[in-house]
């Protein structure tokens, strides 16, 4: 799901002002790796913040582009359902149930079962382990060479974390990375590198591996890993295999594509804003605030989708019962009515936590505190070792209207 870095004009992407409003389809995945989406969203926020589009690829849908309108949709879950799907495209024939794409009451029941694995109490217990691993990964990096930060740091660290959260065999952990990529790809998010058939085949292998672990955990006393929590809970232990797979996909992607791309995004943001990197070096106590700013600036997941359960008036438009509604978090985080100088990366930004990357309401990101902790530790340990992580080439971004990610960040390290 990757391609070389391109500029909007080179990728054949028209200027947003050369189109009529009804021609603007934010589902087009090619807009994102070319970074053309910023100008498109800016036009929509100004001229048509609640925007209807008849998309060839995804059918008719609404785009919600302003911060407060997104909060409204996200917090009115009785009007805007998360079923059957939380990405823009509809599944053809492969749609395993997962609690992110369920409404109350089942959503609440299932979410509560797995939450303890990523709640603050559990996190304080694993913090020393995370710090040790981050240190080991950073100490193993090749100094004096150009290497891909995404692969050696972002993927490696998030994958190690995932293996711990599932208590998955550590040596096989890259399988988790692969299944995450498969789960978050496909035509539903504008990626045509994998067919639905291929995805099903690969994810079936994922289910088989996890089925073994389920049986193993069930035979042991309950522990605080995701599989054990599910296997021992009366509300989840009778899930059918597809529902188990669905929830696995949710937990794998949720803990992987997101933090991975914020780990990469921080390197990009600091290199594009050298004065901010200078500020950080001078005052590492800014790290927790910077972490929130990176998560806003990167917005690792561009959107979440809902389906209207009744007619709803929003921004002067009538969203009809049954309509598909896409909340563009990546746009809400650039809304200058809520966020001051939103296009700038400011590590000491006041109220940096007030961003929309985690969503709001009952489906708000469950792993947000874990993500923040991982990023905080990463930057603390980087600053102890390196004067600079220098970006020495163009970032290569993934082609997706959902995952705002990188596949290659060529960097060189400057040791302190």
């Amino acid at each position: 799901m990757s391609q070389a870095a391109v500029k909007p004009e080179d990728a054949g992407i028209p200027d947003p002002y050369s189109l009529t409003l009804d021609q603007i389809d934010m589902g087009k995945a090619e807009l994102y790796p070319a970074q053309a989406h910023w100008a498109y969203f800016e036009r929509l926020r100004k001229e048509d913040p609640v925007h209807f589009c008849e998309s060839e690829e995804f059918g008719p849908y609404w785009s919600i582009t302003k911060f407060n309108d997104i909060v409204h949709v996200d917090t009115h879950h009785h009007q805007f359902s998360s079923e059957p799907q939380i990405v823009i495209g509809d599944a053809v024939d492969f749609q395993p149930p997962m609690f992110i794409a369920m409404d109350q009451p089942k959503h609440d029941v299932q979410r509560k079962v797995v939450t303890p694995a990523v709640a603050p109490m559990a996190l304080s217990e694993i913090e020393p382990l995370i710090r040790e691993r981050v240190g080991n990964v950073l100490d193993s990096l090749p100094v004096g060479e150009t290497f891909n930060w995404v692969d050696l740091v972002s993927i490696e660290l998030t994958t190690q974390m995932l293996a711990t959260l599932f208590d998955f065999p550590f040596e096989d952990r890259r399988k988790l990375t692969y299944w995450s990529d498969v789960a978050a790809s496909g035509p539903q998010v504008g990626d045509n590198s994998m067919t639905e058939e291929f995805r099903l085949q690969e994810l079936t292998k994922c289910l088989e591996a996890f089925d073994e672990l389920w049986k193993e955990r069930l035979a042991e006393p309950r522990k605080n890993d995701f599989i054990s929590l599910m296997a021992h809970h009366p509300d989840m232990q009778n899930m059918d295999p597809m529902e188990y797979l669905g929830n696995l996909m949710l937990l794998i992607v949720g803990g992987n594509d997101t933090t991975r791309n914020s780990m990469s995004g921080g390197v990009v943001a600091l290199n594009q804003n050298p004065a901010e990197y200078e500020k950080l070096r001078a005052d590492p106590s800014l790290i927790p605030n910077m972490v929130s700013e990176v998560i806003r600036w990167q917005t690792p997941l561009a959107h979440m989708r809902r389906n209207a359960l009744e007619d709803v008036e929003l921004g002067g438009k009538t969203i009809k019962k049954g309509d598909k509604v896409v909340m563009w978090y990546v746009s809400g985080n650039r809304d200058d009515e809520v966020i001051d100088r939103p296009n700038e990366f400011i590590i000491d930004r006041p109220r940096a936590r007030h961003h929309i990357s985690f969503g709001f309401g009952i489906h708000r990101c469950m792993g947000n505190r874990l993500a923040e902790m991982q990023l905080k530790i990463l930057w603390e340990e980087i600053l102890k070792r390196f004067d600079k992580v220098e970006l020495v080439g163009e970032p290569v971004r993934v082609t997706s209207n959902f995952v705002m990610g990188y596949s290659n960040l060529p960097v060189q390290l400057h040791v302190k």
């Binding site: 996200d74 109350q104 509560k112 709640a119 603050p120 007030h354 985690f358 709001f360 009952i362 505190r369």
Partner: protein, 106 residues
């Protein structure tokens, strides 16, 4: 003015006087009381302003909405007297209210 006492998890007290009709979350954030984040800005949508309301004040602090109940379900360390500070408005009836802040917000 309404007097509010926020008690941190380690027992540190913050006694603050605030005007009426402000939320306990806003007052805490404006006065730099640690342990209350208020990520969503007061929309009852993130549960990062979880507090425990001392029993004497619980019934005076109002009823929880369905949304508040739902959001609290996913917070850590929930008790009978758990509330979201953004949903409690300062008023003369709450003059002297004491709320405790949990060890962490999820």
């Amino acid at each position: 003015m309404v007097r509010i006492t926020y008690v941190e998890h380690d027992g540190t007290k913050h006694e603050i006087e605030a005007p009426e009709d402000r939320s306990l979350m806003e007052v805490a954030v404006e006065n730099m009381v640690p342990g209350i984040d208020g990520d969503c800005g007061g929309a009852c949508a993130c549960a990062t302003c979880h507090v425990y309301v001392e029993d004497a004040w619980l019934s005076k602090s109002g009823e929880k909405s369905e949304m508040e109940t739902s959001m609290l379900e996913f917070a850590e360390g929930i008790e009978e007297n758990s509330r979201l500070a953004c949903q409690i408005k300062t008023s003369s009836a709450l003059d002297g209210i004491v709320v405790r802040i949990p060890e962490s917000q999820h």
